[in-house]
């Protein structure tokens, strides 16, 4: 636990000085995707559930948040709350369906349900179809903090990220998290010990959807845009890639992964379709060679260093 306190202090310091080193907009994008990936990692890395449709919760929250802010003129804190709750509700329904099957079927079901949301977003009127919801006002947080300045907004986003990150950390290290890891490792044994495993799985699914929704809603406040990209299956693929690169089942993996993937996309954006090819290559290389990801690799070599007496 002590080691983690140090990690948090370093992380908070990095977040505080970040905008003086890198563009705040870039950092906010990293933080949104990092939170999204942390939420996904909670489900995959600790629950052992591979959802291939997390874009649904991310995207649904961003649409609801954008709609509330632009059409209804709600203040940002309520928009974030509404978007996040919408994602949680969707996660509850989809999660209850998906946990009825295991493994590979679970992945296919979540993907298919997310595709349904994609078609819904394409056809429904409130989502703006192909145009999405554009130029969403940032507004004043709690009526006093004007979010128009990127630097102010950055610190709000950083606070949201840190809150989500700490919440996930708390969950993982709670008795609930321990049960979750045990279910991931050996579900039949947990069933025989008397745990209602499907309730645990549903709860972690909903929690993950809520946090993914928070990330999606925050993204809307930053970029003032909700579009079909947010609900497309490529978005679900991207969050998997982030977690895979950073390291599944590690606390910091998704954050590192998000930084790398978002940076990569920023630099490669002019190359157009090559981005997809490169993402695919990274997928293949990670699966074939670095299954524990960057942070996983780092942690392992650190542990080996500590063990070897020299």
């Amino acid at each position: 636990m002590k080691g983690y306190t140090r990690t948090f202090v370093i992380l908070a310091l990095l977040l505080a000085i970040g905008p003086y080193i890198l563009y705040p907009i870039f950092l906010m994008k990293v933080l949104c995707f990092a939170l999204f990936a942390c939420a996904f990692n909670l489900l995959l890395g600790y629950g052992g559930l591979l959802s291939f449709g997390h874009a649904a919760y991310f995207g649904m929250a961003s649409y609801v948040c954008a709609h509330a802010a632009k059409i209804w003129g709600w203040p940002p804190e309520l928009c974030l709350l509404l978007g996040t709750s919408a994602a949680g509700l969707l996660g509850l329904v989809f999660g209850a369906l998906a946990i009825r099957r295991q493994g590979i079927y679970f992945a296919m079901i979540t993907l298919a349900l997310a595709q349904m949301i994609y078609f819904f977003a394409l056809q429904a009127t409130f989502t703006g179809g192909e145009d999405g919801i554009q130029s969403v006002p940032r507004g004043n947080l709690f009526g006093v903090i004007n979010l128009a300045s990127d630097l102010t907004l950055y610190y709000v986003v950083a606070a949201i990220f840190l809150a989500g990150f700490l919440a996930i950390f708390r969950m993982i290290h709670s008795p609930f998290g321990q049960v979750l890891k045990a279910i991931r490792d050996n579900e039949p044994r947990m069933v025989s010990l008397g745990y209602r495993t499907s309730q645990y799985k549903l709860l972690v699914f909903v929690l993950s959807a809520v946090l993914a929704g928070l990330a999606g809603a925050t993204k809307v406040v930053v970029f003032q845009l909700a579009s079909l990209t947010d609900v497309h299956w490529m978005m679900s693929g991207e969050v998997i890639l982030i977690v895979l690169v950073g390291g599944m089942g590690t606390i910091l993996g998704p954050v590192v992964g998000a930084f790398i993937i978002v940076a990569m996309e920023n630099y490669l954006a002019p190359l157009g379709a090559w981005v997809t090819v490169i993402q695919g290559l990274v997928f293949v290389v990670c699966v074939m060679l670095f299954r524990q990801g960057i942070v996983g690799l780092f942690e392992r070599s650190l542990a080996r260093l500590k063990k070897s007496p020299r």
């Binding site: 099957r101 590979i104 349900l113």
Partner: protein, 295 residues
């Protein structure tokens, strides 16, 4: 011309035909997925990309080499099948001992690479491919007009599905395949080369996807995204049918195509989502799928 339930017969049968066509592709693709899953325990996410490759290769054979539809029907599945064999040998076989999810992630990455590569080369606007001359035109059945090519697609898909089913259920090779699905270690102990069987199975499944691609080329426009949209629907079809039975995936494929066609007629807004809604209902009532065994 007459009407049924207030719908003109032309429109009704036209949509049902379109549904059957879509169903033909669902059946072929879900069949390939089911065979691959049975033996490899891998959901082949690249299946859609391989279907797209089939369509593109058909187009390329005609545009670059002047090789027509009928030869493509034979050559393309072989070529894409060989590509599948290589993928299995070089990459997928190395993940056998790991969790299934890595196979899914690997094939997802492969799908991204293949789709991206075709998008770089050919853009996203579709390429046209003409219907072969012998199958141009159609029959006027009185209540509807039936284009010959569509009839051909349905018949060919049905016969390929039937042939595959016979191959798996009634031949010696099929018996090995089913045995290896049940217990690979034991089959290996009997002196059958299971790794080779696995490689060939993957190649065969991929060849089926490519064949579907050849058949699709004259119907849908040939474009890099054609497989990605298709494969997710096919996943839903697979979940509905359950992957336990070969016949089940064929029947489910055709039936869902028909239902989708009917929905397009009765309530067009739901036509793209109806399969997913059916999937949700099936999950509630019979989680293992209509033809599946409880895993």
């Amino acid at each position: 011309m007459f009407t049924i339930l207030g719908i003109p017969s032309q429109a009704l049968f036209g949509q049902l035909l379109l549904g059957l066509i879509n169903g033909s592709f669902y059946a072929l693709l879900s069949l390939g997925l089911a065979i691959i899953f049975g033996l490899l325990n891998v959901i082949n996410f690249a299946h859609g990309a391989q279907y797209m490759m089939g369509a593109f290769l058909t187009w390329m054979l005609l545009s670059y080499f002047g090789i027509g539809y009928w030869w493509a029907l034979l050559l393309v599945p072989i070529l894409v099948g060989i590509f599948g064999l290589l993928l299995e040998r070089l990459l997928i076989s190395r993940l056998h001992h790991l969790d299934h999810l890595y196979g899914l992630l690997l094939t997802f990455g492969l799908a991204l690479i293949i789709q991206g590569a075709f998008r770089i080369q050919y853009g996203v606007s579709g390429l046209p491919y003409g219907i072969p001359v012998t199958l141009a035109g159609g029959q006027n059945l009185g209540f509807m007009f039936l284009p010959n090519y569509r009839l051909w697609v349905i018949l060919l898909s049905l016969s390929v599905c039937l042939a595959t089913w016979l191959l798996i259920e009634k031949t010696k090779l099929g018996a090995y395949l089913r045995a290896a699905t049940e217990n690979p270690t034991l089959v290996q102990a009997f002196g059958i080369n299971v790794p080779r069987l696995i490689t060939l199975t993957y190649g065969g499944g991929v060849a089926l996807a490519a064949l579907a691609g050849v058949m699709a080329a004259p119907i849908y426009s040939v474009n890099p995204n054609m497989g990605a949209d298709m494969i997710i629907t096919v996943f839903a079809v697979v979940v509905i049918g359950g992957m336990g039975s070969i016949a089940g995936s064929i029947v489910t494929g055709f039936a869902l195509g028909l239902i989708e066609g009917l929905t397009k007629l009765l309530y067009p807004e739901a036509s793209s989502t109806v399969i997913f809604i059916i999937m949700a209902i099936v999950l509630l009532l019979k989680p293992a799928g209509l033809f599946g065994r409880r895993v």
